[in-house]
Subunit: 397 residues, 2 copies
């Protein structure tokens, strides 16, 4: 079979399995993401015995799938950025900020602690394990709150605000850890340099947004007939990703910034486009690219590495830490008029950003396949438990 | 620079250059395609001296760009199929059919003749040269007729019908030539086998469309929330492409059939989708994938191989043949009430389908880089001359 044909079969299998597993899990009230990951886990384990090829290895060795996955991640972070908004971030209030900060700090530190206690991996590996537990995936909670007509309550607003902020903190953490991974060690002053770089990059991005972006949009708008806007978004996201790579930061932080600075205001210079249409326009691309990424994440999980008591202990401990860390962050909130426990529970589901950490750690050989498999499993379990728990809490919102 | 970063730079350069060259040529009243091809020609010649890398070789050796191009071609043929319609094809009338048949026969035979006369290439290569001149790219003519309010005239309808039919004939020709290319020679009975295979495949496709497709659409429709429709279209196009490859036919004929059998009727079984929304949904994908394909086509053109009198003679002869072949096909039309000359002129522009031929011939080493460069240039020139000539003819439509 030619390379083209093999890639095409893989792509067909990926698309059918992710869309169907995603659909089934969505119907069960769980996130689509869980279905897509499990499609990957299933293919990773059974493709060999059904079709006689190693799905996981074939995906890893296929440049098309590798680059498509990376493009998917870039576009995902770009969209996370689009959904965030600098002004909203600044006015989100101390409550959301404190929930976010504690909700990052506690799971990360406790995760590192669990990893140390079980002597799972290197020091750096332990930090990757902790960091994977940082960022909330708010989509599914938001959907439940919205369906219950509770999205405008103060508690819900704190959850939404905190989830955006812990994304940003999570990404910053990745920048730092990625830098440690490439240099081998890090001092406090080096962390300072990275934070400074990130802040500088952020300011440069904001300035570009303020002074150049309207011009670029005006120019792009001349081109009414062609598919210029998809290209505009892709070039912006990829361009900022390259800029941040050149500055020694992770490409995804650039993609996130690109989305963040692209504001409604800029589109007043366009007759043909606004930010919501742009999001719709990008959806067909991410509908294809992200399943490729998540299937790859799932396919690298090795369930047979999870079958001993020690690993079971690690998994339960990390899951416990992931849940309790967020709940404590909610409970420690100041003031009243919130459902503090509900806020904590609402932030339990982890998702895309955490998985990017785990995948990065595995790729760089910082995490073993075993630690990686445990992490993906923990992310999966939080995403399954989160909705169940939040539903029992809706009456307090 | 990492592989990821290099691919990303290439992608950024491709997107910016194609969208802008496309825009400029569109504004000049020429097809966007010309701009995209010239972006490729320019990058192929100047990237080395500006950035120090061989753009054309880097694209050819990059699996992501190679597969993305193939996906683009598959989706393009799928869309050509979507725009065609079996019933319309059958009732298009003898006039359009005769224009199409002659408009394929004459340029192909005359093209083969020119190639023989100048002893350009092998016998098979000569057939590829002829076949590249077969299919009309009707988009630009249709746009001009539409803008002039003349799209409903009888002459315009003949052009539109004939262009669809000559696409089908062109694709059939590719099936035959690709089979010759893989077996080395062909007898009349083998051509018969291929035609029979194609007809069988066509019938099977129509039966699948009639009896299975509504069911697949009904099932897909359950999945209301996810990006299932883009995946549906991609799986259908890729699945049929694989089927036709397995039957020993070219993958693109399968993709075309997949589009052809997907009819408005089937979508009565869907609450969430119709055929026009599906086309809109696929546009962001082709907006990114097709420029990658066309840039690659352009980048492989070597202008320095065109700089001698003999090659100039060949180019002019093939251009002449390409124009006169279509004009004669129009003039020989029976009956009255048409602008016979106008119909011929309207079919001069060649485009996507022809370029797929040329690219296939080059890839399989059937065409030399020189013959390939001549062919792409001829396609470009027909696309530039066509609109100029048709505009002078509008008053007779």
């Amino acid at each position: 079979m030619s390379h083209f044909e093999h890639t095409t079969w893989l792509l067909i299998v990926i698309l059918i399995s992710t869309k169907w597993m995603g659909y089934l899990f969505k119907r069960m009230g769980v996130s689509e993401l869980v279905g897509e990951l499990l499609a990957g886990v299933t293919l990773g384990h059974f493709a060999m015995s059904i079709w006689g090829f190693d799905f996981s290895a074939d995906m890893l060795n296929n440049e098309f799938f590798q680059y498509a996955s990376e493009l998917g991640v870039i576009l995902l972070l770009f969209q996370v950025g689009l959904e965030s908004n600098i002004k909203d971030l600044l006015k989100v209030g101390l409550n959301a900020f404190s929930v976010a900060a504690l909700g990052v700090l506690l799971p990360v530190l406790m995760g590192v602690g669990v990893s140390f206690y079980f002597a799972m991996t290197s020091d750096l590996g332990s930090w990757f394990i902790g960091a994977t537990l940082a960022a909330t995936s708010v989509g599914i909670t938001a959907k439940i709150l919205n369906d219950a007509g509770l999205i405008k309550t103060r508690s819900s607003q704190v959850i939404l605000g905190a989830a955006v902020i812990d994304d940003v903190m999570g990404i910053l953490l990745l920048v730092i850890l990625a830098s440690v991974a490439s240099t081998g060690s890090i001092s406090v002053s080096e962390i300072g340099v990275i934070v400074l770089k990130t802040i500088t990059f952020f300011i440069v991005a904001v300035l570009i947004g303020k002074y150049l972006l309207s011009g670029v949009i005006k120019i792009s708008d001349l081109n009414t007939t062609t598919g210029v806007w998809v290209a505009f978004a892709l070039v912006l996201a990829l361009g900022f990703a390259q800029l941040s790579a050149m500055a020694g930061l992770a490409p995804i932080i650039g993609a996130f910034m690109a989305g963040l600075i692209l504001d409604d205001v800029h589109f007043t210079h366009s007759e043909n486009m606004n930010i919501h249409d742009l999001q719709d326009l990008l959806k067909p691309l991410t509908d294809i690219l992200l399943p490729i990424f998540f299937v790859g994440i799932g396919a690298q999980v090795k369930l047979n590495l999870l079958g001993d008591l020690n690993v079971l202990g690690i998994t339960i401990s990390l899951l416990f830490v992931a849940i309790v860390g967020k709940i404590l962050a909610g409970i420690f909130i100041r003031g009243s008029g919130f459902d503090k426990l509900g806020i904590g529970i609402g932030m339990i589901p982890r998702g895309e950003v955490g998985l990017i950490f785990a995948a990065y750690g595995l790729k760089q050989n910082i995490l073993s396949t075993q630690s990686y498999s445990v992490l993906v499993l923990v992310v999966l379990l939080t995403t399954i438990l989160g909705p169940v728990l939040i539903k029992s809490r809706l009456k307090y919102f």
